[in-house]
């Protein structure tokens, strides 16, 4: 939590002034019962109308000043709360940008998104509330007790006992209900889970005729949820009546003691009225306070969740050498590289070495989980090697600055993602200063020019969020074009042509080969056909390089490669 406090620093003034003005307003409010007491004790018995008018005018004046103070307080707290949360949001957002893939894997993207959205919103609400009210309510409660002391010490003790009893009871009820509410939340998650599984698995459920079983399962979770909700509700429902009872019991004792005191002449009638008024002020504020504490504890929980994101530091050290590549393509070398994901028990890449000259094409093939993606993720330094080193143009990539290195590498990931905005804007991700001509050229190479031009507005056609107004194959081609716009020195295609038919896939590879300043290309694929013509093929099995060489050599020497190839082409049809 501590690391968030500093974002208040630009709002020190507001954080002090907000509560201060609120306190002022509250103290004016505390004077009102005293004025009423004077009216009853002095004005009425003497029949002095002008005295009453005078006190009422003071009341009105206090009320007015109170309002002005309160408005000022609202402004300062709104400013501090919105400013604070904007600063925190901005800081968290940029902090996430500095994290490496390892930390992103560990934390989970969806967690980060919740932190940035709903958690920060709750925090902002909490900050605003506390600046405005949290100081006011305790102050009024304590102030009322204090004022009671100035009137009569003995009666004031009744106040002290009542407030203490209330605090204990409220705290006790919350102690019981907070874990129950958490349980309710957990039960609700189960109901959501049951419904979601039912929707996403509808085909399988119906194919196996499991509708009744699913209904039964859902009803069970639903019933559990309701039972817990009702139980938690019953106990929470105690809060208001109990507060009501305690305060009014205090009131009864107060009236009883007050009556005795008036009888003996220790107190006036006005004193009793003032004391009663203070007691009801306490009631009102305590009810507010109880609601506030619930909200505040939620905000605190969110605050600590956000703060934990800020505590994550990148495990990757940036290099300080600028990577400059003017040749248009780059040489890649792996020297005894092993790699293990954080928290994994086994290496995903085991002792791999190869040298790929500039401009050449490397094919990477292997079964699911053989380490293909892990190998290529090491090239743009998404992860650091556990052992050995990756060299680009003869220098260890750890020495290059990440930015300069990655700006010369283009990756087309397995899942093609497009962003909302025009096609042009998406293409500019590749290179900020690309011209329309550059983009069109890249689209042609990626076999995507024709369908883009058919869209209304061509490059200006708007891509929906998630790119869902394009088919899978179209998205893949756009993702490839985006990478080509960059004119990279190294192009990495991570199984990114899976949705293309064989003919388009082949045309794409041909176009890349024929590019001016063709980049060094790394193609990961499950299809033999996509990589069989590469200059060098790396065959992976369980993280090991079990084969490295050209297609013909591997067919002869590498058992795994032969199996993969035959599984796709069938041993007898090789002549085709």
């Amino acid at each position: 939590m501590k690391n968030l406090w500093k974002y208040f620093s630009s709002y020190k003034k507001e954080c002090v002034l907000g509560p201060l003005f609120k306190l002022l307003e509250a103290s004016f409010e505390l004077f009102i019962p005293l004025l009423v007491k004077q009216i009853i004790d002095v004005g009425i018995p003497n029949g002095d109308t002008s005295f009453i008018i005078q006190r009422v005018l003071i009341m009105a004046a206090l009320t007015f000043i109170g309002m002005v103070c309160s408005l000022t307080a609202q402004f300062f707290s709104a400013k501090a709360a919105t400013g604070f949360s904007a600063r925190v949001k901005s800081a968290v957002f940029s902090h996430i940008q500095t994290l490496s893939h390892t930390e992103l894997d560990k934390t989970g993207i969806s967690t980060l998104i919740t932190r940035l959205t709903s958690d920060i919103n709750t925090l902002q609400g909490g900050v605003n509330m506390s600046l405005r009210l949290f100081l006011r309510s305790p102050f009024i409660v304590l102030g009322a007790v204090f004022m009671a002391f100035t009137i009569d010490v003995k009666s004031a003790l009744i106040f002290v006992v009542t407030v203490l009893a209330l605090s204990i009871v409220v705290y006790g009820i919350m102690l019981i209900t907070v874990p129950m509410h958490k349980k309710v939340q957990g039960d609700l998650d189960k109901v959501t889970g049951a419904a979601r599984a039912n929707i996403s698995g509808v085909r399988v459920i119906r194919a196996f005729g499991l509708e009744d079983k699913e209904q039964e399962h859902f009803s069970r979770s639903n019933d559990t949820l309701v039972r817990m909700q009702i139980l938690a509700g019953k106990i929470s429902a105690l809060l208001n009546p109990v507060t009501f009872v305690l305060i009014n019991l205090g009131l009864c004792v107060l009236i009883h003691q007050g009556a005795i005191a008036v009888d003996t002449g220790r107190l006036s009638r006005g004193d009793v009225v003032a004391l009663v008024n203070y007691m009801s002020q306490i009631l009102v504020e305590l009810i507010k306070l109880a609601n506030l504490i619930v909200q505040l504890s939620r905000a605190l929980a969110c605050g600590s969740r956000i703060s934990s994101v800020m505590d994550i530091t990148s495990s990757m050290k940036d290099g300080d050498k600028e990577y400059k590549n003017t040749a248009g393509s780059a040489a890649i070398e792996f020297k005894g590289v092993s790699f293990r994901y954080a928290d994994a028990s086994e290496d995903s890449v085991k002792d791999i070495s190869f040298t790929l000259p500039a401009g050449a094409t490397l094919g990477v093939i292997g079964g699911t989980g053989s380490g293909k993606s892990s190998v290529i993720n090491l090239i743009p330094r998404f992860y650091d090697t556990t052992q050995g080193s990756v060299l680009i143009d003869g220098t260890d990539i750890k020495e290059y600055s990440l930015n300069s290195l990655r700006s010369r590498i283009a990756v087309v990931p397995q899942k093609s993602v497009l962003f909302s905005g025009s096609i042009r804007e998406n293409m500019l991700w590749g290179r900020k200063d690309a011209t329309d001509a550059d983009i069109e050229e890249a689209l042609k190479q990626a076999q995507g020019y024709d369908f883009v031009m058919e869209k209304e507005g061509g490059l200006d056609y708007m891509v929906n969020k998630g790119g869902n107004n394009f088919s899978g194959g179209q998205k893949q081609r756009l993702a490839i074009a985006r990478a080509l716009v960059r004119k990279p020195a190294i192009l990495i295609l991570d199984d990114s042509t899976s949705a293309l038919d064989y003919a388009t896939d082949a045309a794409l590879r041909k176009a890349i080969k024929e590019m001016k300043d063709a980049p060094t290309t790394v193609i990961v694929s499950q299809r033999s056909a996509s990589i069989m013509h590469a200059d060098m093929i790396l065959v992976l099995d369980d993280g090991h390089a079990v084969g490295l060489g050209r297609h013909e050599e591997l067919l002869k020497d590498c058992e795994v490669y032969r199996e993969i190839y035959n599984s796709q082409f069938g041993g007898d049809d090789n002549a085709l």
Binding site: E25, L35, V36, I40, T49, T63, F64, M67, Q74, F75, S77, A78, K89, F93, I96, S100, I109, L112, T117, R132, G193, A195, R196, A197, N198, G201, V204, F208, V226, I230, N240, F244, V245, N248, L249, C252, I260, V262, D263, G265, R269, V276, N277, G367, T368, G369, S370, N403, A410, V417, S420, G472, G473, A499, D501, K510, R527, S567, Q568, L576
Partner: protein
């Protein structure tokens, strides 16, 4: 304020079973609200008794306090019972609504699920229903109590002193006007705020959601810039929205305090003139203090209720969605199908005016192996949707063993198919639960044999608890290929008479696939099977290959004959050998 009457009638329908609790709730709300209102009168009486030194009637005080104690006890008990009843009604009726929603979900045609995003259906069933429960609860708790409190206060005030009561009654609307005025003028800020916030959520979803891509393109600085620009804008608008809306409380409090002062003035003068007692004045003052509270609460409740009714409407929309046509009353039960299939003149479209399948004809003899190939969107998966009767044909008919599939019960028809799809789905539960989905009473030996057949056994044995390993929603830690292997094990276990394999091995590496092919081949022997695949190698062995394009079968024959025909198929096949 406009409430949809139909929706309200529906809500009442769901509340009906709980009428007794509602009645109790109303009764106890009335009791506790009215009794609570009587307390200031008693306090006033007490004040009137304590006149001054030596002039206090302690017996009278004691009897007043006794009355107060009774009232406090009963009122508090009433409040608690009311709350408990409300909880019961709200949560139970909401449970019933969820139940009907889920029940309807089981009966909706697949077209509904396919055309509505999961998130939308879920938010109707979960979030909307939750909002409805909150609204209902708040409505019950505060609406009725609020109205009773207002009426009760009015009566008590008027009965104490008409003219002073008039001061309160005339001036109170002022504070409501102030509140309404502020609300009206801030709503535009709130609208702006929610628009900007929406933009921000999109930015966060896209950029953080694809953080790895952002890094791959070194797009971090641009992403930050985009975010900060929007964030600064949001800060400005939020400040306005938060500040202006927070004016409501101080302003209404100001008006209320003014009324309080005026009551003190008018009341004080009335006491001097002997029109009322000091006790009456204190009672009056506390009423003046409380009088506006229920008004503010009710206006809050009304918005909350409106919101709740809108949400309820959204759930009811789901519940009212037209169910699929029910099975015919005299529908036959298909048992151990032989596997003869006859597709006659079938036409079908998902969207009207966009025909997908046109006049499709196909005859399949029992035990035949049919492969379907063709470019994306040619209608392969659609054909399978029709075979399984996930969708009904628009025209023509599909017959199994010589009888239209619409004359069978859906359940029995589907039981005769074994289906493995490209998008694997595992249900949350253990691995064993998932394999035995189609045959719940399978023995361990059978399960292991099936898993060995589909080459899933070895990786399952490496999981922490082997077959008892619990997998979460969406398969969790398993890879796509492993999930597919488990789906194949299901079929290997239940061994239905007809098979549908829609890209069943697309995520499995080709070496493992080759090994599974043997098992598949054995399984397909004597079973009518349909195979959809991208990899042409997987379908070469089929008896008949259907080449589909734009909803029509354009070529049909076995591998050799299609190749030599030199049509679309041979072009497709040869393309995988080109550069």
């Amino acid at each position: 304020m406009r409430f949809d009457k139909k929706v309200i009638r529906r809500i009442l329908h769901y509340l009906k079973p709980y009428w007794f609790f509602m009645l109790c709730s109303l009764l106890f709300a009335a009791v506790s609200a009215l009794l609570a209102l009587y307390l200031p009168v008693l306090t006033g009486q007490a004040v009137d008794i304590v006149i001054g030194k030596g002039r206090v009637d302690m017996e009278a005080i004691k009897s007043v306090i006794f009355k107060m104690l009774c009232i406090i006890g009963i009122s508090a008990l009433g409040q608690w019972i009311m709350n408990a009843c409300n909880n019961h009604v709200a949560y139970c009726s909401v449970r019933d609504i969820r139940h009907s929603a889920f029940e309807r979900l089981q009966k909706l045609p697949l077209s509904y699920m396919d055309s509505h995003p999961t998130g939308d259906i879920l938010s109707r069933m979960i979030a909307d229903v939750d909002t409805f429960a909150d609204g209902l609860l708040m409505g019950f708790t505060q609406f009725f109590t609020g109205i009773l409190t207002i009426i009760g206060t009015l009566i008590l005030m008027v009965s104490i002193h008409k003219w002073v009561a008039l001061v309160v009654i005339l001036l109170t609307p002022l504070s409501l006007f102030v509140a309404a005025f502020i609300a009206k003028n801030t709503s535009s800020f709130f609208k702006q705020q929610s628009v900007t916030k929406g933009v921000q959520t999109t930015i966060i979803d896209e950029m953080i959601g694809n953080e790895k891509l952002v890094k791959a393109f070194s797009h971090e600085a641009e992403a930050e810039e985009l975010f900060n620009k929007n964030n600064a804008e949001l800060e400005k608008i939020s400040l306005k929205a938060v500040f202006f809306s927070s004016l409501t409380n101080p302003s209404t409090r100001f008006v209320n305090n003014l009324i309080y002062a005026l009551v003190a003035l008018a009341g004080g003068i009335a006491v001097i003139r002997g029109h009322m007692s000091v006790g009456n004045l204190t009672a009056f003052l506390s009423y003046a203090n409380q009088y506006t509270k229920p008004f503010n609460e009710i206006s809050g409740v009304v918005t909350e209720l409106q919101n709740a009714i809108t949400c309820a409407g959204r759930v009811f929309e789901l519940i009212d969605e037209e169910a699929r046509t029910p099975d015919k009353e005299d529908a036959a039960v298909l048992e151990g199908a032989k596997g003869g299939l006859d597709i006659k003149n079938v036409s079908f479209s998902y969207v009207k005016d966009k025909p997908l399948l046109r006049d499709l004809n196909l005859k399949v003899t029992p035990g035949q192996r049919v492969a379907i190939v063709g470019p994306t969107g040619c209608g392969k998966t659609t054909l399978i949707n029709l075979l399984m009767r996930f969708y009904d044909v628009d025209k023509g008919s599909i017959a199994v063993d010589g009888r239209d599939i619409r004359d069978y019960t859906r359940h029995s028809l589907r039981e005769n198919y074994g289906m493995v799809l490209q998008e694997t789905w595992l249900k949350p539960g253990t691995i064993r639960d998932n394999i035995t989905l189609g045959k719940p009473d399978a023995t361990d030996e059978e399960v292991i044999a099936a898993a060995k057949n589909s080459h899933a056994h070895s990786f399952i044995m490496q999981l922490p608890k082997q077959y008892d390993t619990v997998i979460g929603e969406d398969g969790g830690q398993l890879s796509q290929g492993q999930k597919q292997l488990i789906c194949i094990s299901r079929i290997m276990l239940s061994l239905p008479p007809m098979l549908i394999l829609d890209e069943a091995t697309s995520s499995i590496d080709t070496r493992t696939e080759l090994k599974i092919q043997d098992a598949f081949a054995r399984m397909m022997k004597g079973r009518t099977s349909f195979i959809v695949a991208h990899r042409l190698s997987t379908i070469k062995e089929a008896d008949t290959i259907l080449v589909m394009k734009d909803g029509n079968i354009i070529e049909q024959g076995d591998h050799k004959s299609l190749l030599s025909a030199g049509g679309f198929y041979s072009k497709l096949y040869r393309s995988q050998y080109e550069i």
